[in-house]
Symmetry: C2
Subunit: 273 residues, 2 copies
């Protein structure tokens, strides 16, 4: 398997430096020669969209994606309409920030009916696609690990994401492969092949053993059991050559001084991704 | 959907009363008119196999299963042989305790090679089947939630369990459906149908939101989001009419006085299972 030899495709997912404001994260990327950043909406809201957009443009950083749209299922039609409005705003923000990819974390069921919630996701994406397309933004469905099915997303397998995405052109709806969410799937490599031409993001972190926490238990690449390089090569064989986002929810990583954290990410990226 | 009207099929999985010794758990079941119990090997070891077996026989309780065999993958051939020896002892114990079902928690990978570990599981089951058959014990493959893939089992979907089990007769290798592990699976109902005639156990608890912990976060039936009755009916439509085990890893449940805990289990069982 072939090692990466430079950081041209490295993107810092902003949640990896959650203690930093957007200006601080942008500065840190520029200092560390990290060429791309993935943005989160709550951080953009802190800075203000116009200021954030100017800051990013001036920095020369590429924006690999905006996180996140989604959270579609809700108990009432009115609540679902509010979610749809918010998703349109997310599309606007993605366009304004200069990224072509809005990551969808599709949302949990409002009750015990998980199949019903999955239908709501499908319907909501159908409604959102024309608007996103008119803004030049591709919706990237990210299947989330099944342990998040009740709280974050009822889309838990690459096969589910593909079943929805395949109803659209690849520039309308794509697939985001996050190794942390899908590494365990016995259908992983077959499903990556199936998504060929439609993958719009590859995210890395690691699965540490023992796993300390459902949300905050992600590890730095190399500290866990995920075959990161094998998955990257499968994603590349499926045609994806875009940014590789490092997305780590982990208090110890968040507490590192940022220059140290980025130096570690850069070395682990070459060694393990 | 039809409610259960009595406790004829209720089985207390011993881990739900983890603070009790085997004699205490047996007494509590008899007091509460719970007709079956599922045993764990570490509890049997505390009491001693012969004494445990006598105690169970004298109590009149039915043993729905013994937990657990498995943990097959290991880094060296010698270590895998030791695991196989231990599995033969587990089969012996199941036979001695009067249950026809040994639950298999298949084990994690010894390294990053999850596909290799899955092959080891398949090979180990092939080796164990003739011995188990000669003892009158069916191996029940229990797929574990994907969040346990790195620490407890690389068999994480009903489809994987069926792919292995279908290589054998249903009396040799069966499937254990634990709602907590499989409720999220978009293929759930199709896979339960596929397992028709081969299901040898149905386990219930609940998935609570927010989920407090990977291992100790299971809830009492009715406290979470799992469609327990719908899953039971699917399991019954697939031909399973055997014991329904209540298996809850949860400190608050463990800390309840046992008579209170069993009374709550009995009422939640009728109300939600």
């Amino acid at each position: 398997m072939e090692q990466l030899t430079n950081w041209n495709r490295l993107s810092l997912n902003q949640i990896t430096t959650d203690m930093l404001s957007l200006p601080q994260a942008v500065d840190a990327c520029v200092r560390a020669d990290v060429p791309s950043i993935a943005l989160w909406r709550h951080k953009i809201a802190e800075t203000g969209l116009a200021a954030a957009s100017r800051l990013i443009r001036d920095s020369g950083l590429r924006v690999s994606s905006l996180c996140r749209g989604g959270m579609f299922p809700a108990a009432t039609a009115e609540a679902r309409r509010e979610r749809m409005d918010d998703n349109r705003r997310a599309v606007d923000e993605a366009a304004e920030l200069g990224t072509g990819v809005l990551v969808l974390v599709c949302g949990p069921a409002p009750d015990r009916d998980i199949a019903g919630a999955r239908r709501m996701v499908e319907e909501a994406i159908a409604e959102l696609v024309p608007y996103a397309e008119s803004c030049g933004v591709c919706l990237g469905i990210e299947p989330l690990h099944p342990m998040y099915a009740a709280e974050r997303s009822v889309i838990n397998l690459l096969s589910q994401a593909s079943e929805i995405a395949e109803q659209y052109r690849p520039d309308q709806v794509g697939i985001v492969v996050d190794a942390f969410h899908v590494w365990w799937d016995p259908g992983l490599y077959g499903q990556i092949e199936r998504a060929a031409g439609r993958i719009v993001g590859y995210h890395v972190s690691d699965w540490i053993v023992p796993t300390p926490d459902l949300l905050m238990g992600r590890g730095m690449m190399g500290d866990g059991v995920i075959e990161l390089r094998r998955i990257r090569e499968a994603v590349e064989a499926a045609g994806y050559r875009g940014p590789i986002e490092v997305e780590i929810f982990n208090r110890a990583v968040w507490d590192l001084p940022v220059d140290e954290s980025l130096a570690l990410i850069k070395s682990r990226y070459l060694e393990h991704v």
